[in-house]
């Protein structure tokens, strides 16, 4: 098909294909990223008209400033106790991630995904919600479970698909689920959970309950049709839901421009649905807390949904199957302007005189010990690589509440296969 020569006097069209500012071998470049000063963003009342928040969808809510102080109207004024709890959770997540990453590298399981650089988001969000509220997470919100005190050993059993996994090894590692902890089953299919969170929130509203829901998605996955379904249903029925978009700027090897970030912020999607929207420094644990708290108050007051974009950076590879040096500069993570969320909160605690080197050393030691102990306990229940086929008959359970004849026949056949 040759170019149409019908109108040679018109300019030729050209396809724009977004390209990240730097590729391997080039110098990381963050000059396109605007970082407003902490404390600058106004804080409208949580019950305000949705439009009042729309200027915030292109801004960036930040609380921790360059001097490690908490400043401005979004400062959630948390007690040192709460701050330390969030800090501890973040550190635990990081230690846990490192440990499990290594377990996968040691061949003990098939797969692992870290959330390095994004620890503030899930841990602070969990702290800002009530434990009765529910999360519909995607796969980098291990911080929710840690914050809610889910046993690390149970997480590890899931990762090892071992006898301690209450899901009987059915799911890929890190696809946790815990009803008790209000943590919905993670799906391998991107974005599906986002409108599901809206459905849960609608149910809560139908029942006159007071619990709200929070749905989670990545920047890349916002391109799925389910993202639009979530926003549409949330807006139409004014569902009591918080819709979080974790913009870590990468989707495997594709930068966020491939999801639309060159032209608009993800938070600004809120405008077209007439719902509240906030764009938040995701590496600032206090800003995360404040934003989620604001949106939760709004939802609880029947003022409808809030879309929150957490702006952050995926500091490491997508998963154990990925090596990011194939598509972005090696030093990209270190130069990222919003810094490391763990360090930022630690510096703030130190500034407040609520933390010091001794406490830090003690925490690191304690966390490592806890994680190591959990790992030991989990591994007693088995690791994937050493899995035999005892218990294989369980593979046929739970397709339906009652096993129909055809699955029973298949189970029987499977059990006889070795004979």
């Amino acid at each position: 098909m040759a170019r149409s020569e019908k109108r040679p006097n018109r300019p030729a069209l050209a396809l724009h294909v977004p390209e990240p500012p730097a590729r391997p071998g080039e110098k990381p470049d963050y000059s396109h990223i605007e970082v407003p000063a902490a404390g600058e963003a106004p804080r409208p009342d949580a019950l305000c008209a949705a439009e009042e928040t729309h200027p915030l969808t292109t801004h960036l809510v930040r609380v921790l400033d360059d001097n490690d102080d908490a400043v401005g109207p979004w400062d959630p004024r948390l007690s040192a106790e709460v701050l330390r709890k969030i800090y501890r959770d973040m550190v635990t997540v990081r230690v846990f991630d490192d440990r499990m990453y290594r377990a996968q590298r040691q061949g003990k399981t098939s797969f692992y995904m870290k959330c390095t650089g994004e620890e503030a988001i899930a841990t602070s969000a969990a702290a800002a919600m009530h434990d009765e509220d529910i999360h519909f997470p995607t796969y980098r919100q291990q911080g929710l479970l840690v914050s809610r005190g889910y046993p690390l050993v149970k997480m590890m059993c899931q990762i090892y698909s071992n006898a301690g996994d209450h899901m009987k090894g059915r799911q890929l590692p890190i696809m946790y689920s815990d009803k008790e902890k209000g943590f919905f089953s993670i799906s391998g299919n991107l974005a599906t959970q986002y409108p599901q969170a809206v459905g849960w929130a609608m149910a809560s509203a139908i029942k006159g309950d007071s619990r709200i829901a929070m749905g989670w998605i990545g920047d890349g996955a916002t391109a799925e049709g389910d993202f639009h379904a979530a926003l549409t249903f949330a807006s139409v029925y004014q569902a009591p839901v918080i819709l979080a978009t974790v913009n870590n700027q990468w989707a495997i090897s594709s930068f966020s421009g491939i999801a639309g970030a060159e032209q608009a912020t993800f938070a600004s999607r809120a405008v077209g649905y007439g719902i509240a929207g906030l764009r938040v420094d995701g590496n600032d644990a206090l800003a995360v807390y404040a934003a989620v708290n604001w949106a939760a108050e709004r939802a609880r007051s029947n003022k409808g949904p809030t879309l929150i974009e957490f702006f952050t950076y995926r500091a490491e590879g997508h998963s154990t199957s990925d090596d990011p040096s194939g598509y972005r500069p090696k030093e990209a993570g270190e130069m990222w302007p919003l810094g490391d969320p763990v360090e930022r909160l630690r510096r703030h605690l130190v500034k407040l005189d609520e933390w010091d080197e001794d406490r830090e050393a003690a925490l690191l030691e304690e966390t490592s010990a806890t994680v190591r102990a959990a790992q030991k306990e989990a591994e007693k229940l088995g690791v994937l690589s050493e899995q035999g086929d005892e218990g294989k008959e369980t593979m046929f359970e739970d397709v339906y509440a009652e096993m129909p004849w055809h699955i029973a026949e298949q189970r029987d056949a499977a059990l006889k296969e070795g004979e």
Binding site: F136, S187, I206, K207, D226
Partner: protein
């Protein structure tokens, strides 16, 4: 007892169940104030209020996804997909989420819900109001698939589906909403009123899932059918004057394999009839099962009478539709040796 057509029976099933169980919510495109384009949900919003029966945005994936969230909360969604031809945008939520939730979480989260949808041809609906996509759901472990063929079953099966702990895809043969259809499109439509199956209890009753119905006993061959084709097959057998046993499957998954096996072992011959395209249609599974289980009783190969492997055309509808002539040809073949 009341006399009901299929729409009335389905409507009645909703009402009976919504009165009994306040966790049932009904939503879908146009199902609220208006009561649905086929009027199956008429009066529900009025009786049960706007938060228990409401219009949904035109987003089949959204409808299914929101039902997942509601089921996770503890409600029991009964959703309508306006035409089965429009279920594809919801396919990911149905296949990846609804069907697999119980399994992937080892029953921590379950998905009791009913996905209702009018399906099938014979109404000059063209490509997008005529399809029979049931085999795309029978292949998906975790789903039950139910297709009624008359008012009594429609109500009883729908109540059973609503009470079932697992997700049920409930396809309604729209061609016979108002009356059975013998496949002779040139003859006047018969209303349900004259038929025994239109006598439907007003209150609660169930027709169990997984149980077929032998609608005609016979010795010469076994005919397996469901939905509209039950009536077409019955008429064809009458016209051929053949002592056929006609089985209305009613539930495709889980299948009533016992009823099928017993019958085919008795008759030694088997004819399968469905509207969907032939290749990889549910008839293929039935044929394979019958052959696997009754091979040494079979006196002739199992025959399939199906829609053709083309999209559903608007004109030449009756060339597409597996009507009496097609059944007759297959019958001759299966009875030949």
């Amino acid at each position: 007892m009341a006399v009901m057509n299929m729409i009335q029976a389905i409507n009645s099933a909703h009402k009976v169940m919504m009165r009994e169980d306040e966790d049932i919510v009904v939503f879908g495109e146009d199902v609220g104030y208006f009561g649905g384009v086929f009027r199956a949900t008429e009066g529900l919003q009025k009786e049960f209020g706007k938060t228990r029966c409401f219009d949904a945005p035109i987003s089949e994936n959204g409808i299914a996804a929101v039902a997942v969230g509601m089921a996770a909360y503890g409600l029991k969604p009964v959703i309508e997909i306006q035409f089965a031809d429009y279920i594809y945008p919801a396919y990911d939520q149905i296949v990846s989420e609804i069907a697999k939730m119980r399994y992937r979480t080892a029953a921590e989260w379950t998905m009791p819900m009913v996905i209702r949808s009018p399906y099938g041809g014979g109404i000059y609906g063209g490509q997008t109001h005529s399809q029979s996509p049931e085999s795309l759901f029978t292949h998906i472990a975790g789903l039950k698939v139910v297709i009624p063929s008359n008012p009594y079953d429609a109500k009883g099966l729908l109540i059973a589906a609503i009470e079932d702990p697992d997700p049920v895809v409930f396809f309604e043969p729209k061609r016979i909403y108002n009356g059975p259809f013998d496949g002779h499109h040139d003859r006047p439509v018969q209303p349900w009123t004259k038929r025994a199956e239109a006598e439907v209890p007003e209150g609660h009753f169930t027709v169990p899932l997984g149980k077929a119905n032998i609608v005609r006993e016979g010795e010469a061959l076994t005919v397996l059918a469901y939905g509209t084709m039950v009536h077409v097959a019955l008429a064809a057998m009458e016209e051929a004057g053949i002592d056929a046993e006609v089985i209305d499957l009613r539930t495709l998954v889980p299948l009533d394999i016992e009823a099928i096996e017993q019958s085919v072992k008795k008759t030694g011959r088997c004819l399968i009839v469905h509207e969907a395209p032939r290749t990889s249609g549910f008839g293929a599974e039935l044929s394979a099962l019958v052959t696997e289980r009754c091979f040494y009783h079979l006196e002739a190969p199992v025959e399939r009478v199906t829609g053709w492997d083309t999209p559903y055309p608007h004109s030449y509808e009756w060339t597409y539709f597996p009507g009496p002539a097609r059944i007759k040809k297959a019958l001759d073949k299966v009875m030949a040796d």
